[in-house]
Amino acid sequence: MPTAAEPLLQVRDLRTWFLTDSGPVRAVDGVSFDVHAGETLGVVGESGSGKSVCAKSIMRLLDEPARIVGGSILFKGRDLAHLDDEGIREVRGREIAMVFQDPMTSLNPVLRIARQLIEAMTAHGRFTAAAARSRAIDLLRRMGVASADRTVNSFPHQFSGGMRQRVMLAMGFSNEPSLLIADEPTTALDVTIQAQILDLLRGLNRDLGTAVILISHDLGVIANICSRVLVMYAGEVVEEGAPEELLTDPRHPYTWALLHAAPRIDAQAEDRRLITIEGQPPDPRAWPSGCRFRARCPFAVEKCAEHPELLPVAAGRAARCWVTQEGGSLHTPERARPVVAAPVDATPAAPILEVSGLQKHFPLPKEAFFERQRVLRAVDGVDLQVFAGETVGLVGESGCGKSTLARLVTRLHEPTDGKIVFAGTDITHASLSAIRPLRRRMQMIFQDPYASLNPRMTIGEILAGPLILHGIAGDAAAARTRVAELLDLVGLPGQSVTRYPYEFSGGQRQRISIARALAVGPDFVVADEPISALDVNIQAQIINLMVDLQERLGLTYLFIAHDLAVVRHVCDRIAVLYLGKIMEVGPAASLFARPLHPYTRTLISAAPVPDPRVERTRRHVPMKGEPPSALNPPSGCRFRTRCPIAEERCTREEPPLLEAAPGQRVACHFPGRLT
């Protein structure tokens, strides 16, 4: 970006290391970049690439043992890397503000919103308390907080995640900083709320001229807002450029890999396998001497044994790669064309799982003795069929009941009402011992690879447990053989048997979790957000593994996810859940080609596409507000409070789930009206 003016922020050869007892962890290792006034710079990279540490170095929010051991951070004529504590406090909050990932912990829970906002402004002596108060209300209003003059007196716990992030943004902008650093500001939010926050951030940047550094792992988010992108890998910047070019014609193989590992919402692939790169990022205690990406790079040449510099590859672009610096290009694999929705063939077989009128209500503890019992309607009347061999996706925002539904189907919870028939057996209220034999056919994969494996058991014990319980392996030797087979099936080395879960990475743990589910030889697997805790490339590896296993073992999946692109990519049929009810269900292809329910339509439009040119042509349907509470769902159609086409009828009549197109059923009075 050639600008005549001096850059606002100049980071030169920044090195931030964690000086641990076992040697320095070189988290940020020679990073240089500029931020110009009013610019939006995106920083992408997988976890451990050093992007957050980089941001914290600029704010000097480093805790022991992290330390800036080299380089400079020039900001308005000052070197932040060498400023004393008092000097950096002057800069923090006033000239550079930061918004963090987790809106649940970044506000002080015992102080009112007003007080936190006012203190942020009066701390730098720029406002009196009274002026700060009226400004706080103005700011909240600007951030899209409804009836700001009242809500300013709330406590943080009374706000949802999206609202708290708005408060954080208000606090960030309260002193009119010239730079805002947003570290994964939308990662913890639902896709519709993410779209709202990104819109807000874009508007603030445009109206106030504040420069923004946006850190994200999601290329779609970056493509949406940023005018320039940095890609980080192994503590270095590996590529830099405008998103239009960088995301369509990557010049570093790592960018290339990131781009192709994530399924896209705007394209249906013919093959469900994604392009992945092997292995994992190198150890930050001992970076390899040559190119740090070399061991995983599909394009590596001899010269890559030498460490490449970040050099220009085109106008306004730079890459740290020998191949592209010498004029080589990274071939783009053929993206499959979106296919026209294939006609759904008549369903011949009986469904393996049939759920009808399913409800799960959780009674909440009373707040007062004479209060009426409050009930959380997590799942509130769901009908769903799953046929053998297919993959059914379950999508929806957090709190829509998709995880509860998964736990009802696998009978970890007992339903309040309704019926679950699995493989011809009614298991709605089956006892523990009655359902045990069926568990051999029905298994579950969990979301959090760090919590779903018992940390005190070896991998061998974890995998042998189900075999012994169900009498699958007669003796210890048979169990050992079967465990070795399972490890091989999910692509883990045989010596993993004696190791403990903490010795494995997130992706490897998810493989173990899959192996455990497959140990008993099930034909139906419920996967509850199996990839949402993983990095993009690891996500792709796990998707590929699940697709492979489905083909080899003939599995049926109930796949729960909040990422629509992933669901579109792997599922045959999709059910969209909202506040415990199915809004729309149908074949993946037709659901995405022609969503009939306004909720489906807004969800799809809210998911960002990692290509600014495509993004500009997409029609965005903004969704109003936040999901209502499942304690007290709206009358009539549950979606009406956020629906752009709701009419009076929707408040009175609850629309039934009816077939509106072949195989596609919708619960809406006006199917297909919102386009």
Binding site: V69, R407, T410, L432, M444, S452, P455, M457, G465
Partner: protein, 285 residues
């Protein structure tokens, strides 16, 4: 990069000593006391209950290292033999209390509902009284004697383990590995005993260790008040009690008191060491 000054990295030995030095010191003291308790007859040539009125209230000397008490019994010998009672009682009270309390608290937490509610109200009831007063009242009702005192102490001891194990099990219960075990088909007993409790054992071990000193102290206190062991059994608390009016003959009460002090402190050092060792945050550096 040679211009970057890195701070000196402490050698592994220094680091280990900094973290576990006190704890190992505590362990050495405890081992020494256990050794003394087991091999007491070989460590002293006196009988702890041999009364020699002619040699009463002798100050420390070459023949009686820690002097003699009002009945002419060798204080050193009685302190060494006293370790037998104190250590045994401490361990029995804490281990039995911990086992009982943990199983009860853990099962209640896993079952939820009225079982949990009832158990917690029962612990509240015990917590209503100052522990030593309640133990005194029960011990007095049961009659004086070591076994009765142990029973009295157990009544006040188990609730803290029930409470701790309950909260530990509740936090583990929501972990996905528990749901995974349920979805495989394991029953509640297996999940609780084989999966959850091994993950909750860390804080319980810390509490047990820290509590051993506490139990010894309470028992010594009860004995001091005349409720614990029956004379002439050598016991530190009752020895301090016997010497409490002998201001001139300071050695009669001081040495058993020092014995209590060292054991309690040693157990506390060990408990702190366990806590550091089990704390994942402290482990990182």
């Amino acid at each position: 990069m040679s211009d970057i000054a890195l701070p000196a990295i402490a050698s592994p030995r220094t680091r280990w000593l900094r973290r576990y030095g006190l704890a190992s010191f505590g362990a050495v003291i405890i081992l020494a006391w256990i050794f003394a308790a087991i091999f007491a007859p070989w460590l002293t040539r006196y009988d702890p209950n041999f009364v020699d009125v002619a040699a009463r209230l002798q100050p420390p000397s070459a023949s009686h290292w820690l002097g003699t008490d009002a009945l002419g019994r060798d204080v050193a010998t009685r302190v060494i033999y006293g370790a037998r009672v104190s250590l045994t009682v401490g361990m029995v009270v804490v281990l039995v209390g911990a086992l009982f309390g943990t199983l009860l608290g853990a099962s209640a937490a896993y079952a939820r509902g009225w079982a949990e509610e009832g158990l917690m109200r029962l612990t509240d009831l015990v917590f209503c009284f100052p522990p030593i007063i309640l133990a005194m009242a029960i011990a007095a009702a049961l009659g004086i004697g070591t076994v009765n005192t142990v029973i009295a102490m157990l009544v006040v001891w188990w609730p803290k383990f029930a409470r701790l194990s309950r909260s530990l099990v509740i936090s583990q219960r929501s972990m996905e590995y528990v749901e995974a075990a349920q979805s495989i088909g394991f029953g509640p007993a297996h999940i609780l005993l084989r999966q959850i409790i091994p993950n909750a054992i860390g804080p319980l071990v810390v509490l047990v260790t820290l509590d051993l000193g506490n139990a010894i102290l309470v028992f010594a206190g009860l004995s001091f008040l005349g409720l614990g062991t029956v004379p002439p059994t050598p016991e530190w608390g009752s020895m301090v009690g016997e010497g409490r009016e002998l201001v001139q003959q300071w050695w009669v009460a001081t040495f058993p008191g020092l014995a209590i002090l060292t054991v309690v402190m040693a157990f506390n050092f060990m408990g702190d060491g366990f806590r550091d060792w089990l704390d994942p945050h402290a482990n990182r550096r």
